[in-house]
């Protein structure tokens, strides 16, 4: 304990250094991001012809198929090779790394895997180039996916993967009580009442989606904005939020679901603890596993999401491919985008990852249908899906929605009051 002896000076020095480091650590991010990087004001046409080596920035590829696709591209494209640059799993971290590398003008970062919810932010800040329409035809692509990559009538990313929510349900239980697949929440409730009364299984709950406070709550909960203007304090939205809140209170949705994201819900459904479950298509492969990890194998099916009064709408998910503003070799990037969005590549991607393709033709492809029998339902879900709000400040918008929905679902705020507050907040965020 010798360092106590010289006492005061050391202590002051240590204390102030420690305090300094706080500010340094916290300020470091601020300082690094200081470089003004608007670029929005420079409409100078980008050069889409230069060939050379580029990097494809995307989240972790768990399927192992992406390297194969890239190798194939590199074989047929000798004057510009693509390298895979994998980013963390977390969407927020991917977004941040992309933004940071735009700010330091990384010339290698060329093709970005742009989540649909980032489109507006990336386009408005000039992180990605607007794509020339003559080079990037969108024929044959789903309208919803084109829309998700468009900002102010310009295409900023090439539609690649899409996604829509599905209602997973226990076919065996519904058949046992000779019930129809519900299309509204009321029907679902009635079905659950019959099933839970008959089954007498305290572990079996009616329904769950993703209700933890994270970006997914935007997808699962409230519906926002029709004409780009925030419009949430409507009777329909209030009724929707009220229904979910009541279901939580009455136990139709298990209490623990307030801490669930996709994976927790999937496990509960697989363990046979849910009659109905809202989730993304990837769950299908897990629930259909025959190695004993799924107790509902062969006992479930999928349907379009139910709504409050009429068949429901999913929020649109997915990811598109953009070209980074500071990329040096945009010519190669253009070629790579076209290659990735080709029918052949998308098919292989779909079969390997279970991601929904952006090309409509693939939804009736026999191989895809054989592997993923739910494909027609998914197509329907995507075609009717609501795009999530196109906000430049998407982070603020999603947090505002999360605040409102999460508070209401926990019974801390009344649904109508929560939506009123949300409406006020959104009006300042989306102009």
């Amino acid at each position: 304990m010798t360092f106590v002896r010289p006492a005061r000076r050391v202590l002051i020095a240590a204390a102030s250094l420690s305090a300094l480091l706080v500010a340094a650590a916290c300020g470091g991010g601020g300082g690094g991001g200081a470089a003004p990087e608007g670029g929005g004001q420079s409409p100078a046409a980008a050069d889409f012809s230069k060939q050379g080596d580029i990097e494809f920035w995307t989240g972790k590829d768990t399927s192992g198929n992406l390297p194969k696709l890239i190798a194939k591209f590199n074989e047929s494209h000798p004057n510009g090779k693509v390298t895979l640059h994998e980013l963390p799993d977390e969407a927020d971290q991917q977004r941040q790394q992309m933004i940071q590398n735009t700010q330091i003008k990384n010339p290698k970062m060329a093709v970005l895997n742009v989540d649909v919810v980032w489109t507006a932010e990336f386009a408005a800040n000039g992180y990605v180039e607007a794509l020339p329409p003559d080079q990037f035809p969108t024929d044959g692509m789903l309208k919803a996916t084109i829309d998700s990559a468009t900002y102010f009538n310009k295409l900023y990313a090439y539609p690649w993967r899409s996604n829509g929510g599905l209602l997973f349900y226990r076919k065996d239980l519904l058949d046992k009580y000779s019930l129809e697949v519900p299309t509204t929440f009321d029907e679902m409730k009635a079905a659950c009442d019959k099933i839970t009364a008959g089954e007498n299984n305290p572990k079996l709950a009616c329904f769950a989606g993703q209700y933890n406070k994270y970006e997914g709550l935007t997808a699962g909960g409230v519906i926002v904005g029709d004409d780009g203007k925030p419009n949430v304090a409507t009777p329909e939205a209030t009724k929707g939020l009220q229904t979910l809140t009541d279901w939580f209170k009455d136990g139709y949705i298990p209490k623990a679901a307030i801490t669930w994201t996709e994976e927790e819900g999937r496990k509960a459904f697989q363990d046979g603890e849910l009659v109905f479950h809202r989730n993304w298509p990837y769950v299908y492969a897990f629930a259909a596993k025959t190695d004993g990890s799924s107790k509902v194998n062969g006992k479930f099916d999928v349907a379009p999401l139910p709504g409050i009064t009429q068949p429901g709408v999913s929020s649109l998910g997915g990811a598109n491919l953009g070209i980074a503003k500071n990329a040096e070799n945009k010519g190669t990037a253009v070629d790579f985008l076209k290659f990735m969005a080709s029918e052949e590549s998308e098919k292989s991607d779909t079969l390997a990852t279970a991601n929904a393709p952006s090309l409509e033709a693939l939804y009736s492809d026999p191989d895809v249908l054989k592997k993923f029998p739910y494909t027609p339902t998914l197509l329907e879900s995507i075609q009717t899906a609501k795009p999530r709000p196109k906000a430049v400040q998407y982070g603020d918008v999603t947090l505002a929605i999360q605040d409102a929905a999460y508070g209401a679902l926990q019974g801390q705020t009344a649904p109508d009051a929560a939506l009123q507050q949300l409406q006020t907040k959104l009006q300042t965020l989306i102009k």
């Binding site: 304990m1 360092f3 106590v4 002896r5 006492a7 005061r8 000076r9 202590l11 002051i12 020095a13 240590a14 204390a15 102030s16 250094l17 420690s18 305090a19 300094l20 480091l21 706080v22 500010a23 340094a24 650590a25 916290c26 300020g27 470091g28 991010g29 601020g30 300082g31 991001g33 200081a34 003004p36 608007g38 670029g39 929005g40 004001q41 927020d92 977004r95 933004i99 386009a123 408005a124 800040n125 000039g126 900002y151 102010f152 933890n212 406070k213 994270y214 209490k255 623990a256 307030i258 801490t259 430049v392 400040q393 982070g395 605040d403 999460y406 508070g407 926990q410 801390q412 705020t413």
Partner: protein
Amino acid sequence: MATATAEPRSVPATGDGHKHKKNALSDGQGRLAWILLAPTLIIIAVVAGIPVIMSIRESLFQTNTGVDPNTGLVAGGETFVGLQNFTSIFAGENPVQGNFGTMDRFWNAFLNTTFITIVCVILETLLGVAMALIMAKAFRGRGIVRAGILVPWAIPTIVSALMWKLIFDSSGVANRILGREILWLADTGASFWAIVIADTWKTAAFIGLLTLAGLQTIPAEVYEAAKVDGATTWQQFVRITLPMVKPTLVVAVLFRTLDTLRMFDLPYGMIGAGKYRVETLSVFVYQETTQSRYGPAAAYAIILFLYVLLVAFVFVRVLGADVIGDSGVPKKKKKKGDQEQAGPPGTALEMAGGAH
């Protein structure tokens, strides 16, 4: 600031030891010291000084977020806004609902940080001292106990955050043991306690370790003399152990306080972002930077910096004054103690009496 304290301390140090006046470098001693210190100073300036100055500059600016209504593009660049980033915390523009009712998000985070720190540090100090007392005892298997107590400290915080996340899961171990369904991770009052429990579990060992080192500097004769005088165990603890370990303990508590005020990984990794009941200032600052609001984020970071500095200053002034007074005395007594046996206990008790 760190540089300012570092120089004067080191420069005289070399001057003191210097005797040969006619050395070729004699006049350049000061310069030599500067040259030798330069690498350290440069590194401190680069990794701490420059970022801090940049943060201060950044805190006076705001990124332009206006959108052109025709093209939808953001103008970009930054505008000088003066102290607006600092004054806006009083405007209450961003009310959130937390443990302390509805208030501005900044103040909610500020109160969270403060209360988490107070509760955690008190619990950690109590537990840490208890651990140190156990570890200091000679008994069979002491090595295992010492190692066991230090295991939580050795685990990286983010790993322990994820570990506790599993424990506090709605169907996790904690709820199984309690036999109730408490939603620890759902931004409820329980989330606050989940953080406190996890942090205390992890860092009580730190206070324990430092206190143990302090305990081992207390000479055994002091206790022997106390026994001869008929002091009970409690009296020995309150009148001998505590006063003599106090200098060390204060430093340990100070370090823990400063550390807890900066807490980030535990709430972020365990409960998640945007959960206002456990959002600390560091988490809030991080959230602001991810929204590209670097100006306000830098301003909040600076406020946190000043807050930490203030707490450190209070510690050094109020408790630290004792550190110097106490630590000087026992050092002398300890040396004398070899010669005159009766010396130390008397003074130690006197000191304790004086302090109370």
